[in-house]
């Protein structure tokens, strides 16, 4: 075959406009994610004045016993958080899937409370509960040292519990009842079923949960910022190095350290998800849960205890936000909702709404088109493989690192995109990148399920791809689109770690304002702002649930034979 026909064949196989779009999208993601990361990595090897110093920064970092201790501290709290969260998450999910307790819906939604508030607020709530003047401390005369290791672990458990729970819930929900029926027929006792059926079935989820909890706790900034005290961790070190001591290169060094467990987790997840595909056969039967008062009793107590703790946490925020001066003057007041102007006042909240709204809309549009280009366009194998990898890479990049690398990258005069620094654009961008992967995976999975011949049919009828995309792919993916938008919105409302480096002169956001107010001695106002965020996130979640119910209702109507 001669060169010309080879070329002709190659060109004919690809649609030029699709190719260009694909290239644009992959380039955008490369520029906004990969290049900043590379810049951060570079910074870790530069000394003052931008001289290459090799591993000198690392040598200095590990040579400093205090900084090196931060690593030990971070590993320590991450370890315990992982153990506790995984255990609690497993039993909570187990109770909701494998017992006959009532109020499962209630239990399921209350478990999600921590997702709707910034991690700083988990810590703040703990102070209101367990601090020296805490509600519980005073009520039960407790003596818990909430500042430091214990408090941070508690806050991180609150932070990671919903993630562990949700992952276990999915894994435990889909099981093959026949395995248990067979075991029953053989007279196998309950504990053996747990160890020889249940746990092996979800072993990949267990590994994943362990990694996710560890990584989240390892890279969290909010809780250690509030509860840290003498107890330094890597995330607060970055902040101190960069913000307190102006040492950008050292900040970059710590940033690279934060990437380590995240990358390990990322690789583990990849390996696992390749092994874990399609384990459930179509013939699986649903599990019939047997009667057991002892088991149900245990799970009533267990789930109620967890739910009560989380409700108590939110309750404490209400007390803090509405008491005149907790705990010395408990008169009811709304004065804490008059937010300090220095933190942007109530505008910080509106700014957050705008930012989260834009993140949800633009992020979902971008992710959807991106996933579509990866799944439904033919003939760009190499770029598409790279693009898919890029799509899941943010899983391995903690928010702190994104924030830091954005400073290094966008705040350089050589960068033509410098103009976005200090605007809402960079905040939205950082959010879209930070939370890219989950919507990307959700939407990709959804697109994969759509009949791949829709495009062929469209082509045969001369319908342009964009029209098939708009009229078929988009409406059919509506639930995934809504889920992704909600995910973007809620996360953008609560995230602090990337934002803390990027908020601008006149554009503060609520979650960062909470951190600042807490630090500046305005915990009541921080609690009040947290309640606003909580309220809006709950509303968005309800809106989402209702929309999905409506869509499902409509779809069901279209599937019943005697419709019309």
């Amino acid at each position: 075959m001669d060169m010309l026909s080879r070329l002709k064949r190659k060109l004919a196989g690809m649609s030029i406009s699709q190719g260009i779009t694909l290239l644009i999208f992959v380039t955008v993601l490369t520029v906004t994610m990969v290049l900043p990361l590379i810049q951060m990595l570079r910074m870790a090897f530069l000394g003052e004045g931008g001289v290459f110093v090799g591993l000198e920064n690392y040598r200095r970092y590990f040579g400093n016993p205090l900084l090196a201790r931060s690593i030990r501290n971070t590993i320590d709290i991450s370890f315990w958080t992982t153990i506790i969260s995984t255990t609690l998450g497993f039993f909570y999910a187990y109770g909701l899937t494998r017992s006959n307790i009532k109020f499962k819906t209630f239990f399921r939604y209350t478990a999600l409370i921590p997702i709707f508030i910034p991690t700083v607020v988990h810590a703040l709530g703990l102070i209101y509960l367990f601090g020296r003047q805490g509600i519980l401390t005073r009520a039960f005369n407790l003596d818990i040292e909430i500042y430091g290791r214990l408090g941070i672990i508690m806050a991180e458990v609150i932070f990671t519990f919903p993630q562990a729970f949700l992952m276990f819930l999915v894994a435990l929900k889909f099981t093959d009842g026949r395995l248990y029926e067979a075991a029953d027929a053989m007279g196998i006792p309950a504990w053996k079923k747990m160890f020889f059926i249940t746990l092996p079935e979800i072993k990949y989820t267990v590994v994943n949960v362990l990694f996710v909890c560890f990584t989240l706790a390892f890279t969290d900034f909010g809780a250690p910022k509030v509860l840290g005290g003498q107890f330094n961790v890597l995330a607060t070190d970055i902040y101190q190095q960069v913000v307190g001591q102006f040492n950008m290169n050292m900040g970059a060094v710590v940033g690279t350290l934060l990437l380590v467990p995240a990358f390990a987790s990322f690789i583990a997840d990849r390996v696992i998800s390749s092994k874990n595909a399609g384990t459930l056969s179509a013939k699986a039967t649903t599990l019939v849960i047997k009667k057991s008062y002892a088991r149900d009793g245990f799970f009533y107590v267990f789930c109620t205890a967890i739910t009560a703790s989380l409700l108590l946490l939110v309750g404490a925020l209400f007390v803090g936000a509405f008491a005149y001066f907790y705990p010395f003057n408990m008169a009811f007041t709304l004065r804490h909702f008059d937010f300090p102007q220095a933190q942007g006042g109530i505008n910080a909240f509106y700014n957050s709404l705008l930012m989260a709204g834009l993140t949800a809309v633009l992020g979902t549009i971008f992710v959807f088109v991106y996933a579509y280009l990866m799944e439904k366009v033919n003939g760009f194998g190499g770029i598409q493989r790279y693009g898919k990898l890029l799509g899941i890479l943010p899983l391995a990049v903690p928010g702190m690192v994104i924030g830091l690398s954005f400073i290094f990258f966008f705040n350089s005069q050589a960068n033509p995109l410098h103009f976005i620094f200090g605007t809402i654009i960079i905040l939205v961008l950082a959010n879209v990148i930070s939370f890219f992967s989950v919507p990307f995976l959700t939407i990709s999975a959804c697109l994969k399920k759509l009949d791949k011949e829709y495009e062929s049919v469209g082509d045969s009828m001369s319908i342009p791809r964009w029209k098939t995309f708009l009229r078929v792919s988009v409406p059919l993916s509506l639930p995934a689109i809504l889920e992704s938008s909600m995910y973007f919105f809620v996360n953008a409302m609560v995230t602090v770690s990337a934002m803390v480096f990027l908020v601008s002169p006149r554009f503060n956001i609520a979650a960062v304002a909470i951190t600042q107010m807490e630090e500046n001695g305005r915990p009541s106002q921080a609690a009040a702002m947290a309640l606003l965020i909580f309220g809006i996130n709950i509303s968005v979640r309800i809106l989402y649930e209702v929309s999905v119910k409506l869509i499902q209702f409509k779809l069901r109507k279209r599937e019943t034979t005697n419709g019309n």
Partner: protein, 343 residues
Amino acid sequence: MKKKLVLLVLALTAVLMVGCGSNDNGYRYHITVYTAVEPAMYEAGLAAFRAAHPYVNVTSLRDSTGPITTRLMAEAANPVADVVWGTAASSMLVLAERGYLVPYAPAGLDRILPMFRCSRPVPYWVGNCAWETAFIINNVVIEQLGLSPSDIRCYEDLLRPELRGQVSMPNPASSGTGMLTVAALIQMYGVDSDEGWDFIAALHENIHMYTHSGSAPARDAAAGEVAVGVSFGFPAIYQMRQGAPVTVVFPELGSGWDLEANALIRRDVISPGAQIFLDWAISDEAMEIYSRSFPIIATGQGDYYYGFEGINPADQLFADLDLEWIASNRNEIIARWSQITGE
């Protein structure tokens, strides 16, 4: 379709940028001001400046001293700010030394006390007002410990055994207040003696927590998390005004202090608007605003101030404080302090 999407995104972006950008109507100058002044000062100050100079469009960023300084250093190659307003003099020394500032003598410079400005004839920086270390004592908690608020008068009082785990102070590595508190202590005991460091080691036994910000100890004391917070004056008074059961005192041996100072940032083109701002920043009108929050203003004409009944706050300052020494020994101070406290 995808092309349309891209266009849509671009259009939205453009709208946003326009939305965030400034309205050019009637402005002659556009300047960006970075500042670490207290919130109350920030609002009132900017409002007053805009009223006085409506043709200067000010974009401003307010944050703590640390972040503002960091930002200025990070942006040094390509500065965003024209003016730094009301930021610690100790930071100004570092910025000036690195060549990020341009000397400028604002109108009315002769009214500023020598102690409160850069010593060069054409100064790198000029102070507005001073802030100082204060003790904030929670009346409820201190009485639970069997003490009374009047028992805490000077630094030595912080060593009382009743106060074990009941004192909170800022970390000098991350907080300007922490640095000046520690540095003033060292200077008061003599920089060449170990006594100051011995005191810090003794105090460490009573410390509940070293905070990252200078106002956090005031917060902790007000909330009753500790009995005594070593803070700086303003947030302590703020907590008192908010209704916290606290007493604010200035240590008898003398308070460490720092200045809120202004300077002109080195950039290719200096906007006349920046100079107008710096002139205004030490005007009588500005000084009046500073004095509402901070008792000690750089012209030395302190007036009555809430929380300072019957004392002249300027007398409380440790007059011999050497800011240059702090600036040049910053890393050594942090290193030695870390070694002692294990922080």
